[in-house]
Symmetry: C2
Subunit: 232 residues, 2 copies
């Protein structure tokens, strides 16, 4: 049904400018982050998939803020249209956090992340967790300078979402399937969801988590990502 129209064409040209400007800032971010051997993860999902809960759990299990007592050090950038609710939640874990409110904006961009990195000044070898705006569509279009992309989907969202909203899945290195403790109460076939993720992106890794089970596969992936960053 969708056809190119004069409006769409006009928008395309402007988007190219916006993307070009964003990509230049993303390259600067990447250069800074690589130089400090920082693992920067761009976490993308719909609202309510459990990104903040996964972050809280991960920081409390594997890390601490800046205390040096955990296996890793985490710092966090929280993206939301409104409120500092998520930053307040993360702050309770002890991790340094910056909230970015995008207002009407539907995604983080590399400039917002650059300013948040300035404010956080993350030190060598830490994890920088970037929780993007809850939106399965737009964030995938914007490079932030991240080390890797993680797409998160909860089992309550249905098997077909990777096929209907493929960009986030196609550009991600890892897919985290959350809320698997709800599977007994849902009409969802986990194998079909996994197959649909792999149809869109055959090279993607997939791990499953829930707040009521261990997160070993997710932790193992984080350790490998950290090893790669330190070995650079």
């Amino acid at each position: 049904m969708y056809e190119e129209t004069p409006v769409a064409a006009q928008r395309l040209i402007v988007e190219r400018d916006v993307f070009g400007h964003n990509d230049a800032l993303a390259r600067k971010n990447r250069s800074f982050l690589t130089g400090r051997r920082i693992v920067a993860l761009n976490l993308m999902s719909s609202p309510g998939s459990g990104k903040t809960t996964l972050l809280e759990r991960t920081i409390s299990q594997l890390g601490c803020g800046d205390c040096g007592g955990g296996e890793f050090v985490f710092c966090v950038i929280e993206g939301d249209q409104q409120t500092a609710n998520d930053a307040v939640r993360i702050k309770q874990t002890g991790a340094p956090v910056v909230q970015v409110n995008t207002g009407d904006g539907c995604h983080l961009d590399a400039g917002m992340v650059a300013r948040a990195i300035d404010a956080l000044d993350p030190r060598e070898g830490v994890f920088l967790m970037i929780e993007n705006v809850g939106n399965l569509v737009c964030p995938a279009m914007f490079d932030l300078g991240e080390t890797a992309r993680v797409v998160i989907i909860s089992v309550t969202e249905g098997e077909d979402k990777p096929l209907k909203y493929p960009n986030a899945f196609a550009s991600a290195d890892l897919c985290v399937i959350t809320k698997t403790d709800l599977l007994p109460y849902l009409d969802l076939d986990l194998n079909v969801l996994r197959d649909n993720v792999r149809t869109v992106n055959p090279r993607i890794e997939i791990v499953e988590t829930s707040s009521k089970s261990d997160d070993e596969a997710w932790h193992a992936w984080l350790r490998r990502a950290h090893e790669r960053a330190v070995a650079r």
Copy 2:
């Protein structure tokens, strides 16, 4: 954290042009739809909130396609980035349906809806259900010429989403809370979710549904909307 930058300013100016063009087309749609006493509902939500399932159930309970045998006649516009999966599902209910694939686009616009209306040619007094792209952020910015806006949120998405993503809730006439059959398995306080919806929009109506209970409050709202359209 977020500050205006030259990029944001440039984008704002262009968006004003895009919105102006969209609003002109939306006014044409509204004029056509009002003339035919059609109730056009713009259904907005995150992916996986249960929009398509609610539509399937509503059409099978209250309507039929073009057969004239049900209480109402429904026709449907399905918006997704990719696939015709949802149109295939709706087609099985017997309702006329047009699938709009937006590609990289994150929302329906009035031009897409105008072309879909041309293709459907809905007759006097029907319901035109417009299932927007699964995205709680961008669709709220674009008037489609609809009679009313319905924002849908499932109980699995968490209580705080209306506060963090207020635009869709602020501009909606009705909020449908779905999947209430999962409440026993979730740490969610339905009263807090309702309060948060009303904080953003004190005038909004709220109904609750689940695939395992009746949908009387939703049906009653549809009947009132239809009465108002016919009385115009």
